[in-house]
């Protein structure tokens, strides 16, 4: 092959490399070896593996010609510089080859000719004869020996013909073999090989499966089965040869040994080493194609997602090394490594995405564009995914309540705006951006975006629902109803959309009524009535609920008599008198503002509390209250008091365990009724002290629950033993929420400390503020957060709760410390400064911290969004009162859009 040569006749380094690679690929081992040796002087890291490869190829070629001593010399040379694993295989092959020097299996022929041996023995002798290809001939002294010689020659010639592709001749040669011949299985083997080469996979597999497993062809068939895509049962000893043969059979010569080694390393848990074998030995790896190198690249860059945790971390480090300092073998490797790392970060369950996510994702996109060309649609999807990750909400820590915060609001906005700019048809990006705008208080941008969305995607149900939600925020209820109607027309099977529509209709009707347009209000409520369903527990569309709302609105704003009639109709179709009365009362509170309810209704409400209160009925009433509590500007104090009285009465009547369990499950959502819930829990425990569900409830309903992990686990074990799934689930929720509580209870306040030292002015005392790192042995951030939250909570607890807490202090907390924290809470000091006189001192366990190591500045970190000058700054919120001590289950909100 011509290549460029300078005038002096010495090839250029590039030309030499190109020629060397061609020689290597063509099997001209000596030429390739000599060229790579020269190139190795210039760049050992790149060319040494190729020197090794060419020497290995040369040694194997020598083995093929039975030049064993020459092959040993090459091996000795390799052993001076090649890694041991690179030459281990060659060593074994030389050994195997040396062992198979022709030895006249004279006894085998005689024993076969004898004909009296068992079949398995005859097969073994036949295998020995066939595998000894070097035998020149057999002395056919007797007819039996002649038959053996003829069969053996037929098999040898048949195999050779099959290898040369002369299928007909191969089949013809083995046809005369008799069924009782010791070589019969070899005939089957030849037929199987021919079927394989004729691409008759089914027949080939069938023939191979029929071979006796304890014979040579039965073991060799593993290579063909692998090439057919069937798992093989080859033993480890011949694995490498089998894989090499399989790779050759499937058109990938030279892959087998590398694959076998890489596989062995992977199965041994040496994932990085496995990757390196392929990386160093195959120039085409890694790649993105649909060839073997591409598929293996898919494997190595995606397996990290399914590895066990410790292995995954190590493999991530390996990928990180590829991306750092440009150590990628080629741009493809760098790009694939970046992609994998970014997907790992995106899939992480951490609340905050790592800071390196965005720059690495951008770098990956640049690499991808360079490799595949620019594509705005693809880029839009990529940016949209980034925006989605940055817009992930993170839960409030400790006792936090309120709206969830986004991980990185400004970053999410930038990413999603970019996504939309690249592809305006990307509806997902629009839908993701709208709530992010809302979180960033960019209401105008959000409204503008919603308007654009409805024009761009007029027939997208999710877009219409989002637009309707925006209209409700703006109190543009007519538009909201229109959007809900369009969404319903697009998908009549979604049960949520009619709920939204009815809610919007009711709000719009109320608006009309308040503006003294009762006719319009009635028309809208007629539409809501069309969507009503016969479902008593659907508080939005249930027919009795729609009728009750209508009656209440009519009574308040319209015709009182008509309203009373409507309420009578609603009463007759309601599930119970108490439910109707309670619903009507709540509706009146919601719609009536300061208008007093009629006396008759009031009497009905009070009377229904007297009539047969029960736990089952109480559950329904609690559900009603929970539903109405979520309505905007709703005050439920009076209704809570009413329900409290109802529950007190219901607790005195008989109830079953299941009724109590269901009631408590719903009462969890109403923290102000915990005392009443405790009554039911205590009553249930009187019947069964070990009941795990009510044990949990009883602990959690205390003024200050401090259920520790061992107690929780004991209850969980009992729940598992009983098969009590709700109790198991509650225990898991409690343990999960326990992990978010401050570690006050678990800190060894007393054990590790000396007696309180009044004089802390000895230069070795703690800093002004409380530094937990060196005093308590826990990270200061956690202790500081925990202490701050505890103090904030003390500041807003009522005196009775504080007194109850002081009587039952958290585990390990002294009364003195409690008093100190309480005095801080009462003083309203924003910066946490524990008085020195009460600061316990840690036993000396080494170097004490210097004052400069104080991590507690008393300031909360600035949230990400507040660093953006475009976003108005506001103070971070104070941890709220822990009104909910019980983990709150997700509420299957009937109108969660609102």
């Amino acid at each position: 092959m011509p290549h460029s040569r300078p005038v002096l006749g010495v090839p250029t380094p590039d030309g030499l490399e190109a020629q060397a690679r061609k020689d290597l690929a063509a099997g001209r081992w000596r030429q390739a070896r000599d060229a790579f040796k020269q190139l190795c002087k210039r760049d050992p890291a790149t060319f040494q593996p190729l020197v090794i490869e060419s020497n290995l190829g040369l040694a194997r070629a020598m083995l093929g010609k039975r030049q064993i001593s020459e092959a040993r010399q090459v091996l000795a040379y390799l052993e001076t510089f090649a890694p041991p694993e690179a030459v281990a295989g060659l060593e074994a092959e030389i050994g195997a080859c040396a062992d198979t020097l022709p030895t006249p299996p004279v006894d085998s022929v005689a024993l076969l000719a004898e004909g009296s041996r068992p079949p398995t023995e005859r097969r073994r002798y036949a295998d020995e004869l066939v595998a000894d290809f070097g035998r020149a001939g057999i002395d056919a002294g007797t007819p039996a020996r002649a038959q053996v010689a003829a069969d053996l020659l037929a098999i040898h010639q048949g195999l050779e013909a099959a290898c040369l592709g002369d299928h007909e001749r191969a089949l013809e040669l083995v046809r005369p073999l008799k069924r009782d011949s010791a070589f019969a299985h070899w005939r089957l083997f030849v037929r199987a090989v021919v079927a394989f080469q004729r691409n008759d996979a089914e027949k080939a597999a069938q023939y191979f499966e029929e071979l006796p497993v304890d014979s040579a062809p039965g073991r060799a068939r593993a290579a063909w089965l692998l090439a057919l895509g069937k798992p093989a049962g080859a033993s480890a000893v011949v694995a490498e040869i089998v894989v090499e043969a399989a790779a050759s059979l499937s058109g990938h010569p030279g892959w087998g040994r590398v694959l076998a080694r890489a596989d062995a390393l992977w199965r041994a848990g040496k994932h990085e080493a496995s990757y390196r074998v392929l990386r160093d030995w195959k120039t085409s790896f890694p790649s993105e194609g649909i060839d073997l190198a591409g598929v293996l690249s898919d494997f190595y860059f995606n397996s990290v997602f399914v590895l066990p945790e410790t292995d995954r971390m190590a493999y991530e480090d390996h990928l990180q090394e590829i991306t750092e300092g440009g150590r990628g073998k080629r741009p493809t490797e760098l790009m694939l490594a970046r992609r994998t790392l970014c997907l790992l970060m995106m899939g992480s369950s951490d609340d905050f995405p790592p800071t390196e996510l965005r720059p690495m994702w951008e770098a990956f996109l640049r690499d991808h564009e360079r490799a595949h060309g620019a594509n705005p649609r693809r880029a839009s999807l990529a940016w949209c995914r980034l925006g989605e990750v940055l817009a992930r909400t993170r839960p409030k820590p400790l006792f936090g309540r309120g709206a969830p915060a986004f991980s990185d609001t400004p970053g999410a906005i930038v990413a999603l705006e970019k996504s939309i700019a690249l592809d305006p048809a990307n509806a997902s990006a629009h839908l993701l951006l709208a709530p992010v705008y809302k979180a960033a208080r960019r209401v105008r941008d959000r409204n503008r975006l919603l308007d654009v969305m409805t024009v761009r995607f007029p027939n997208d149900k999710d877009v219409l629902l989002a637009a309707a939600a925006g209209c409700i925020d703006r109190k543009a209820l007519v538009k909201a109803v229109e959007y809900f109607e369009r969404a319903l027309a697009l998908d009549r099977l979604d049960p949520a959309t009619p709920n939204y529509l009815v809610e919007a209709c009711v709000r719009l009707a109320r608006q009309h009524y308040e503006k003294r347009h009762p006719r319009e209000g009635r028309a809208i409520l007629d539409r809501a009535g069309e969507l009503a369903v016969e479902a008593p527990d659907n508080f939005v569309r249930g027919r009795w609920c729609v009728a009750t709302r209508r009656g209440v609105l009519e009574q308040i704003y319209g015709d009182a008599a008509n309203g009373a009639e409507l309420l009578d109709q609603a009463r007759t179709i309601s599930p119970s008198a108490a439910a109707f009365a309670f619903f009507a009362r709540l509706a009146w509170s919601a719609y009536g503002r300061d208008k007093a309810a009629p006396a008759a209704l009031k009497t009905e409400w009070e009377r229904s509390a007297m009539e047969c209160p029960s736990a089952a009925e109480a559950t329904a009433l609690v559900q009603l209250l929970v539903y109405w509590a979520s309505a905007p500007n709703m005050r439920i104090g009076a209704e809570e008091s009413w329900l409290r009285r109802y529950l007190k009465r219901a607790a005195k009547n008989p109830f079953t365990r299941d009724e109590a369990a269901l009631l408590l499950e719903h009462l969890r959502k109403l923290p102000n009724l915990e005392r009443e819930a405790l009554v039911f829990a205590s009553a249930a425990l009187k019947r069964d002290r070990a009941d795990p569900l009510f044990r949990l409830y009883k602990e959690l309903l205390q003024p200050f629950p401090m259920l520790d992990r061992p107690q929780c686990e004991a209850i969980l074990d009992e729940a598992r033993r009983r098969g009590d799934a709700p109790a198991e689930q509650l225990a898991h929720e409690v343990m999960a929420s326990q992990s978010m509580l401050p570690r006050i209870g678990g800190v060894p306040w007393d054990d590790e400390f000396e007696d309180i030292d009044e004089d802390l002015d000895d230069g070795e005392s703690g800093p002004d503020s409380f530094n937990g790192v060196h005093v308590l042995g826990v990270p200061s951030e956690e202790v500081d957060e925990g202490i701050a939250a505890f103090v904030a909570m003390l500041a807003i607890l009522p005196p009775s709760a504080v007194a109850a807490l002081r009587k039952k202090l958290p585990k390990g907390m002294s009364a003195e410390l409690f008093d100190a924290l309480l005095s801080i809470a009462k003083s309203g000091t924003p910066r946490l400064e524990v008085p020195r006189a009460r600061l316990p001192r840690r036993k000396s366990k080494g170097k004490r911290p210097s004052r400069s190591e104080n991590h507690n500045t008393g300031d909360e970190p600035t949230p990400a969004f507040a660093r953006d000058p475009a976003v108005p700054q506001r103070k971070p919120p104070v941890p709220a009162v822990p009104q909910r001590k019980l983990p709150v289950p997700s509420d299957p909100a009937q109108a969660d859009l609102f």
Partner: protein, 101 residues
């Protein structure tokens, strides 16, 4: 497994080509005869049936194609069937090694 490999199309194939390949593939592997293969073909088609799904596959798919390098080779061989003959030398080596076990 790489959906392009499963369907036997190039990576720059368009919607029509991919659909054609899908229909041809399921004719050869009906669900009642080869349910696993049918499922694999259908999954592959869903992954690359249109431009958006192809981009999403290229950007975000992270399903490993096998449990180990050899397992990947076996699965690859199921879809990339181009049977070759062994050289006679390699045949001898293989049979000698197998006769010793």
């Amino acid at each position: 497994m790489n959906p392009y490999l499963v369907l036997g199309v190039q990576m720059d194939a368009d919607d029509h080509t991919i659909r054609r390949a899908y229909l041809d593939a399921i004719k050869l592997a009906p669900p009642d005869v080869e349910p696993k293969r049918f499922q694999a073909i259908t999954t592959a088609y869903e992954q690359i049936r249109n431009e958006v799904s192809r981009h999403q596959h290229a950007l975000f798919d992270h399903t490993p194609p096998g449990d180990s390098p050899l397992d990947v080779f076996i699965r690859y061989a199921q879809y990339h069937r181009q049977p070759q003959a062994l050289s006679f030398e390699m045949m001898k080596q293989l049979l000698r090694a197998c006769s010793k076990t």
